[in-house]
Amino acid sequence: MHRVYIYERELTFMGFLTYLINGLSLGSVYALIALGYTMVYGIAKMLNFAHGDVIMIGAYLVFMCMSNSGMPAVVSIVISIVCCTALGMIIEKIAYKPLRKATNLAVLITAIGVSYFLQNMALMIFGSNPVSFTSVIKWEGISLAGGNLKITGNAIVTIVTCIVIMVVLMWFVKNTKPGQAMRAVSEDKDAAILMGINVNATISLTFAIGSGLAAVAGALLCSSYPSLTPYTGSMPGIKAFTAAVFGGIGSIPGALIGGLLLGVIEIFAKAYISSQLADAIVFTVLIIVLLVKPTGILGKQIKEKV
């Protein structure tokens, strides 16, 4: 899926470190995307299959602002975040809200419909030819150990952004009123209504946050892997969803751990085993984890009552 530029395949310690950092960088992007999945799942109990395509839209918006209008990177990303947030809320309002009380499968298929819609919309507007994305990060990066270990600016910024966003988000969910409302809704929707929580607004807010993060993830993903097409979002979307399940779906730290692990495993598998079999290896690890711990690494075991 991704083209990973691996220049040296020696089993050196520096090589190992480089792969580890690449893996953490990719994993940070997965974690950001996985957050969108995991929060929406935790609150609305639905798999938002269109999430991967919001990433793609976000990346295209940044591309349009930067390359076509010549805006600075920060402004472009802010515009993209605002647009994606609005997009996420509109999608929720039109497609998912009417189906809130319907079966899970109906919502799932609708989400797939939305995903097709976004992809084909992008296909119509931007065409099917890949555009080459200019990195939003101009920094060359740092060089350690006498030039043996190069860390790109992309990797550093991606990892730091991810960690900052995670910390802020965890603080938000734990300490603010809307965050507490989110936790309440995810625990028991009906009880939350009785406590006077506006469930619709809370779900809308969740979609807004998830989609805003998707825009950031899109910009970061395409800075590292610069070929952008209308289908760019779908495979990272699936991988991030896997990461969310991996870490325990519904759990925010779980998304971080799942995303980072997935990214590192993917890059290591590409580097040391086989670049073609990397996806198979990632999914095999996922299956093994789920068989040992059926609710993911940080997932809670829910006992079924008779």
């Binding site: 497609a95 609708t110 939305v114 896997t242 086989s274 068989l291």
Partner: protein, 392 residues
């Protein structure tokens, strides 16, 4: 006028006795058949109706094909439509009756396709056409069933969305592994490799069977529309019988309440395994049909990856969960729809997605369902209107 009446009488004289005997024999044949039909229970009647409709459609399409009224695009779609319908029927067994969401049925289709194509390609010059296709079909189905069984053992320990993601993962693994598989044949026998073509170390007379990402080329194109329709009808009968058998009832009991079923003493794991394996086997049949309809078989995201699994799931949900004929209808309509919209070029997939979202909202949204009921637009009211007309 007189001439006309004379003509009428003379023709009656000639045709009359013939028509009488024909109708006599027809009555002799038809009356018992009708009586037999009346005695059947409701689901069986429905099955027979579905099969008749499929046969009638087959006849119409065949006539259209032979009279040249079918565009080459439509002709190319006939067998794939049947293959997708088969996979949808298989998935419906899993989603509707086992109650577990599988996102990996394209993987089973893939296994069936590649096994059968590999067999057909290997023994292309050794075994004559007809028995080879039959063996390929049986082999493809059996290996898909075996994969279904092996995957089901760990997977069915999970439930809900976790089960869905693991089946998705299995589907992706199958696709991925086939993409790095190299198989060749020479005078010494078969050679396998997971690296590249060179590492097979074949003799000069060697022939590539599976060439990594290029897949299998030169599979004999033996899937005709007739075979596809027959297999689809057979699958409908098999699933119908399965669902209405003792095993099928047990599977449904487990779906509705696993703990209660366990308490009654049903061996839950066994029944789940049986249902999942059958579901995979039917998907495998679809794969065999698919493989023998195209010259070069490759495993990509669109034909055997999660995109396909999701597409099949769309057929199942739109056709009605647990309704096999619905799956077939949805598969036919939704495969034809983008092709019929081809004149709209770039807009077609956009329209397709809007139709999909609209249909889901129309069929499932509680608010819209209430509105439909208030305006007499719900399913029972519409069917009721038709029935009244029949009575009058």
């Amino acid at each position: 006028m007189k001439i006309l009446e004379k003509l009428k009488k003379s023709t009656q004289k000639i045709i009359g006795p013939v028509a009488d005997t024909v109708s006599k024999y027809a009555k002799k044949v038809i009356t018992p058949v009708v009586n037999l039909y009346k005695k059947l229970n409701k689901p069986t009647k429905k099955l027979i109706r579905t099969e008749t409709v499929i046969l009638a459609l087959f006849a119409v399409v065949s006539v259209m094909e032979s009279s040249g009224n079918l565009t080459s695009l439509m002709k190319g779609l006939l067998v794939p439509v049947c293959a997708y319908s088969l996979v949808a029927v298989g998935l419906n067994l899993c989603v509707g009756y086992l109650g577990e969401l599988s996102l990996g049925h394209a993987g089973f289709m893939c296994v069936g396709a590649f096994t059968s194509a590999l067999f057909s390609r290997t023994f292309q010059d050794v075994i004559p056409d007809v028995p080879r296709f039959i063996i390929a079909l049986v082999l493809g189905t059996a290996v898909a069933a075996l994969f279904g069984f092996l995957i089901a053992i760990p997977v069915l320990r999970l439930s809900g969305d976790y089960l869905a993601i693991v089946t998705l993962a299995f589907g992706e693994i199958i696709k991925n592994v086939i993409n790095v598989l190299y198989v060749g044949k020479d005078s010494k026998g078969l050679h396998f490799s997971m690296k590249d073509q060179m590492s097979l170390n074949m003799d000069l007379d060697g022939m590539m069977l599976i060439n990594g990402p290029q897949g299998i080329t030169g599979t004999p194109r033996q899937s005709t529309f007739l075979i596809a329709v027959l297999l689809l009808m057979l699958a409908l009968i098999v699933t119908h019988n399965f669902v209405h058998s003792r095993t099928g009832r047990a599977v449904m009991a487990i779906r509705d309440n696993q703990i209660a079923a366990e308490t009654v003493g049903l061996p839950v794991t066994k029944y789940k395994l049986v249902a999942f394996t059958l579901s995979a086997a039917i998907a495998g049949v679809g794969g065999v049909l698919y493989a023998h309809n195209i010259n070069s078989l490759t495993a990509t995201t669109n034909n055997f990856g999660y995109n396909m699994s999701i597409m099949i799931l769309v057929y199942v949900v739109l056709g009605g969960i647990g309704n096999f004929s619905g799956s077939v209808i949805a598969a036919v309509v939704l495969t034809m729809l983008p092709e019929l919209l081809r004149g709209l070029s770039t807009y077609r997939m956009l329209i397709y997605s809007i139709v999909l979202i609209g249909l889901m909202l129309f069929n499932w949204a509680p608010g819209i369902l209430k509105w439909r009921e208030a305006h007499g637009l719900n399913a029972t009211a519409i069917i009721g209107r038709f029935k009244k007309k029949e009575v009058q």
